[in-house]
């Protein structure tokens, strides 16, 4: 791993995983600007109250290829409401003192201002990491070099379709944690039978010392428990929370309630 200062995002993420109070870190996904910017900040704060170890903060995008219908619709609504990168980074800035923030943004938004400028804005906002779901290993070298220099963890994704050799290459370039996509598909809730947690963890474990976080499809305490039993060191909960925010009169309370229930599953 590259040289990092004690204040770097990489170090903060390492600390957060080390200091987690549950067997797996609780990592809620919050769509910035959904239903409104103020709501998304309130939702993020409510998640911290429940005990989030890391917050994944989504930047709404016009063409989110890795996302299922719930997050797609939330992003479209956030954009229609005027959400932009500056607004989402304000949310990051507000919560970053309390919890490490990993921004999730699509490649074109990262490339639009230039990778250097994009990452500098992230650093100024206090973000610890970045996930770019449509930037595979082959396209990510330059972005990773800049992120390393700025101490921001560029977190890669591993899919169920990723072969062993490729998995080793990706793991060798991973920073912060390794994000294991738990289903062959886009984001969205899944039944337990569709999930291949143990298989994925077993495939990834030999290739990295970094924490392994499972995401995509985790929507209940049962999912969370299954993830812990499979050996996950973090669970990302996305669509289920976005759906809770969508349906509620008080989005932050609704999300907190759902997240607290899922967190109860994070036991051995």
């Amino acid at each position: 791993m590259s040289a990092t200062t004690p204040q770097s995002g990489v170090a903060r993420l390492a600390e957060a995983f080390a200091a987690r109070r549950r067997p797996a870190a609780l990592m809620p996904y919050v769509m910035g600007g959904f239903p409104t910017l103020a709501d998304s900040l309130a939702i993020a704060r409510a998640c911290i109250e429940v005990g989030a170890d890391v917050i994944e903060l989504g930047v709404p995008y016009s063409d989110p290829l890795a996302d299922g219908p719930v997050i797609q619709a939330a992003g479209a609504r956030a954009l229609a409401g005027g959400a932009d990168l500056a607004g989402v980074l304000e949310v990051a800035r507000a919560i970053a003192p309390e919890v490490p923030v990993v921004v999730m943004a699509y490649a074109n938004m990262v490339l639009a201002p230039g990778a250097q400028r994009f990452l500098e804005r992230l650093r100024i906002a206090g973000a610890s990491g970045l996930i770019v779901p449509d930037l595979p290993l082959e396209e990510s070298g330059r972005l990773r070099a800049i992120a390393d220099a700025l101490g921001i963890a560029l977190v890669p994704l591993i899919a169920p379709t990723t072969p062993q050799r490729r998995l080793a290459q990706i793991a060798a370039c991973a920073r912060g944690f390794l994000y294991l996509v738990s289903v062959t598909g886009t984001t969205g809730e899944r039944s337990l039978e569709e999930l291949r947690y143990a298989e994925l963890i077993a495939a990834a474990r030999p290739h990295t010392q970094l924490p392994l976080a499972l995401g995509f499809g985790i929507a209940s305490a049962e999912h969370a428990r299954a993830a812990v039993q499979a050996g996950a060191e973090g669970v990302v909960i996305g669509s289920r929370l976005v759906r809770a925010a969508e349906a509620a009169e008080r989005p932050a309370e609704a999300v907190a309630e759902v997240l607290a229930r899922i967190a109860e599953g994070l036991v051995r």
């Binding site: 290829l65 938004m109 639009a112 899919a159 990723t162 886009t186």
Partner: protein, 402 residues
């Protein structure tokens, strides 16, 4: 066609996709690099192109159009290809390739419906399951093609997101592929998408240019001065251009959708307006986007050109100066559509009418032009008639008000 398959065209192209798809793209690249030099595969494909698709398509000297313009124009008649457009060349090739790869399920996106019909046709012929994603707005304005796909046994999924046109159809198809990648091949319809698609589609459409080049030489004893084709994603254009790339004296002209004019945002001409390059549907290329990198909605009267991106090889050809890209408006394309009906007895696709409109309205005089008539316009009748009635109604209202 031996040699490696391009991942990039200059800075353009690449693979900007979710990790889930990366192994499938590598598998597809390996399969195509073998198949395109495999004699038995090529023989099988070329037999299908002649026996089933009806190739070679003729070149036709458009005499009355030529008289009116004052120079000679030849039309490459892809409208006479089975299913009514050049799209079948690519669909047949990719479906054969999918069979060779052992895939049993085929998905496709479609704008005007021509690629959807071509893919449904190829699947019916090979007995494969076929699902076609189509924007709900295009389902409305290209009704006959929706009915044809259903007859051919395909399932058409109307996509409700965004502007409900081609961009969203491609996104929906990619998401389906992410979820079903192990069983499914995605037959992308244009020279866009992550590598190896832009090169794969170009290789399969090159038959247009190879035939046309030989036909023009045989007929006229020389090469054309200009080769002209419409560009949405740009598959018919790259197919005809690719056979002339080495002929430095032949000008290559790509005609994009100018929509309501390039001054506003309602057009589909990313190559012509030369904005900052961006990533759309897996590759870096010319794309319509805002300051932050949000993709803008395109607009065109022609569903097949109603797309905010263009193939990466076109962006490269533009930058290198080898090809030139221009745009014509909806109104110009509609006028050219009518003109070809009356002058030559050919009802062109609205997409192809854009190339004709540039020739009829904006082109400097030529001497021998070759224009790719990429498809026939039966699918566009309802839309053109409705727009004409709308225009006639408005004109009538204006007269009465005066």
């Amino acid at each position: 066609m031996a040699g490696t398959i391009e991942q990039r065209f200059g800075p353009y192209g690449g693979r900007y996709v979710p990790e889930t798809l990366m192994p499938a793209l590598q598998e597809l690249e390996a399969a195509w690099s073998q198949a395109r030099v495999d004699r038995s595969f090529q023989a099988q494909l070329s037999a299908q192109l002649s026996e089933f698709a009806g190739r070679p398509t003729p070149i036709y000297p458009a005499r009355r159009l030529s008289e009116q313009l004052g120079w000679e124009v030849l039309l490459k008649r892809e409208d006479l290809n089975h299913t009514g457009s050049h799209k079948l060349n690519n669909a047949l090739g990719q479906v054969l390739l999918a069979q060779r790869m052992g895939k049993r399920r085929i998905i496709a996106e479609t704008g005007a419906g021509q690629h959807g019909v071509a893919t449904a046709t190829a699947c019916a012929r090979c007995g494969l399951e076929c699902v076609v994603y189509m924007g709900a707005e295009d389902v409305r304005r290209q009704r006959p093609n929706v009915q044809r796909m259903a007859l051919l046994g395909a399932r058409v999924v109307a996509v409700q997101a965004g502007a409900r046109t081609l961009k969203e159809a491609v996104s929906a198809a990619i998401r389906d592929w992410v979820a079903n990648v192990e069983s499914t091949h995605y037959v992308i319809g244009s020279a866009v998408g992550p590598a190896p698609y832009p090169a794969l589609v170009r290789d399969l459409q090159r038959v247009i240019g190879s035939e046309a080049r030989a036909q023009v030489l045989e007929r006229c004893g020389r090469l054309p001065g200009r080769v002209i084709a419409c560009v949405g994603g740009g598959s018919n254009a790259i197919g005809i251009f690719s056979a002339f790339l080495e002929d430095a004296q032949v000008q290559l002209i790509g005609v994009e959708a100018g929509g309501e004019g390039l001054a506003g945002s309602r057009h589909g001409a990313p190559l012509t307006v030369r904005g900052r390059p961006g990533v759309l549907h897996g590759s870096l290329s010319a794309v319509l986007q805002d300051e932050e990198g949000q993709i803008r909605e395109a607009h065109s009267v022609s569903a097949g050109l109603d797309y905010p991106g263009a193939g990466p090889e076109h962006a490269f050809l533009r930058d290198s100066g080898r090809a030139r890209y221009v745009a014509v408006t909806d109104a110009q394309a509609l006028a050219a559509f009518r003109k070809l009906c009356r002058l030559e007895g050919i009802i062109p696709a609205l997409e192809s009418a854009h190339a004709l409109a540039w020739l009829a309205d904006d082109a400097p005089p030529g001497e021998l032009d070759l224009l790719c008539l990429s498809g026939r316009g039966d699918k566009d009748l309802a839309e053109v008639i409705a727009l004409s009635e709308g225009a006639a109604g408005a004109a009538q209202g204006e007269l009465e008000g005066r």
